[in-house]
């Protein structure tokens, strides 16, 4: 592409890649761009972090619903 090296992606781009992966929707062009800019390690780390955030978010949501029901 335009000489961008792997590992030069912004955090936002990485999170966007991983989130679109969780939903399972990705444009081919978006993927091609990722393939140039992202390394597998970055994607895996971001994926695991995103999964952890997802789990924590759900736990917080569950707790919030319990506490609001109890009152």
């Amino acid at each position: 592409m335009d000489g961008r090296k792997p590992g030069k992606a912004s955090l936002l781009a990485m999170v966007k890649t991983v989130l679109s992966a969780f939903v399972g929707i990705r444009r081919r062009s978006g993927h091609d761009e990722d393939a140039v800019r992202l390394t597998p390690v970055q994607i895996i780390v971001t994926g695991v972090v995103a999964a952890a955030v997802f789990v924590i978010g759900l736990i917080l949501l569950a707790r919030f619903i319990i506490s609001s029901a109890a009152s």
């Binding site: 990705r26 081919r28 978006g30 393939a35 569950a62």
Partner: protein
Amino acid sequence: MSAVIDNHAPAHGHDSHDHGDHHGAPHGLMRWVTTTNHKDIGTMYLWFSFIMFLVGGVMALTIRAELFEPGLQIVSPEFFNTMTTYHGLIMVFGAIMPAFVGFANWLIPLMIGAPDMAFPRMNNWSFWLLPPAGILLMSSFLLPGGAAGVGWTMYAPLTSQMGPGMDTTIFAVHLLGMSSIMGSINIITTILNMRAPGMTMMKMPMFVWTWLITAYLLIAVMPVLAGAVTMTLTDRHFGTSFFNAAGGGDPVLYQHIFWFFGHPEVYIIAIPAFGVVSQVIPAFSRKPLFGYASMVYATSSIAILSFIVWAHHMYTVGMPVAGQLYFMYATMLIAVPTGVKVFNWVATMWKGSLTFETPMLFALGFLFLFTLGGFTGLVLSLVPVDVQLQDTYYVVAHFHYVMVAGALFSAFAGVYFWFPKWTGKMYDEKLGKIHFWLTLVFFNMIFFVQHFLGLAGMPRRIPDYNPQFTEFNQISTIGAFGFGLSQLLFLYILLKAIKSGKPAEQKQWDGADTLEWTHLPTPMPYHTFENPPTVK
């Protein structure tokens, strides 16, 4: 017409010491015992799984025969329990998993242009662990006390009350786990290291991607199952109390460990099935797979999310409401990437020029019925509903829609699809279609009515039931015997094709576009891609 690669050129200049002939397969029994050829090993995996499928099927028929009428007619309740147990174990570990490993062995090297699997001798060992494991599993029926009637989940504390049949079962699970782990190591290494020049990861056929992801799942969770059954073993014989409440252990802990393995296991079975369907549907739609990149991403995220939903199998064993809510939300959300995949398959067919040969019929059967099984899974993910339906026939119906209509239909689709390539012979298309329709109708006869049995409250894993359930049970049993007989037709179709099938063409399906169809002649030489093809 694509160029046919010359496979007779000497590879890496080592021809001098191999007696100058490696074009054909050696003959006799030792060919199969000592083989390191991925094609032979793939064939053995597939035949092994078919034999185990018939064995497990006979057990299922025993269950259904007993349930034809209320009351006890044919088998004792204890033997009935062993039938449900070993039907589950054999179908999951002996039939479905080896079948897809067989596909992996046959197809991955061909699809990525590799000469063989990365570790051919370990590949041989992976397969040859299976027959001893199968024999060990079946030998438990001959031991004092009989086989273990604990259910395929092998829950404590039942497992600590069984005779020596439990120990042989545990060792069999160890062997099957070892085989799976070694198979996975082989598959991952082959995919990562052995691709032909130009075959980048994102050019790999979807089937290869699904197996890469599945193999990682296997490496992560098979050791957990091995750990769980090892703890069961030490609890039984070596005085530990992991799960034994009398010694301060916790039986529910076993369930957590088992389902931490068990839920990814569902996807270990389903994801290669997705892979097969992702090859078959584009071929008969004459269009590339819709949303290839999103399919890859969706499959990866299904794999990751499969680790965080396990306790939806155990809503009623006692957990905080917050825990139930968490697992309910997580489980409902995992349906999203799966839904994306179903959407992509449908979109692949959109405006394609479709034909409906037997592999496509099975793939479409998969698409309809797997989606139905997915929806009943969504129903069961709701805690208040699950509290009502857990341990009823509704659950049995749900997971058989996923396992049989999902995995087994996809395996049938794959066998019919690649059979011409593997053997060089064409099967009888008319008989194949009859096999499909019989399988489809009888499958729904067995399991569709079980939804209603479950909703009406019929519990599972019991040899006797209230007379009010009789009619639906009889429909189910008749369907089961019809389904079993239809699979003998499948065996006949295969044998007939091997014996006297018409020669198949190099590219039997004109929509098929992976390397094994475009670059290799039919029938295939014994060794392929000794000089890798160049992929543009």
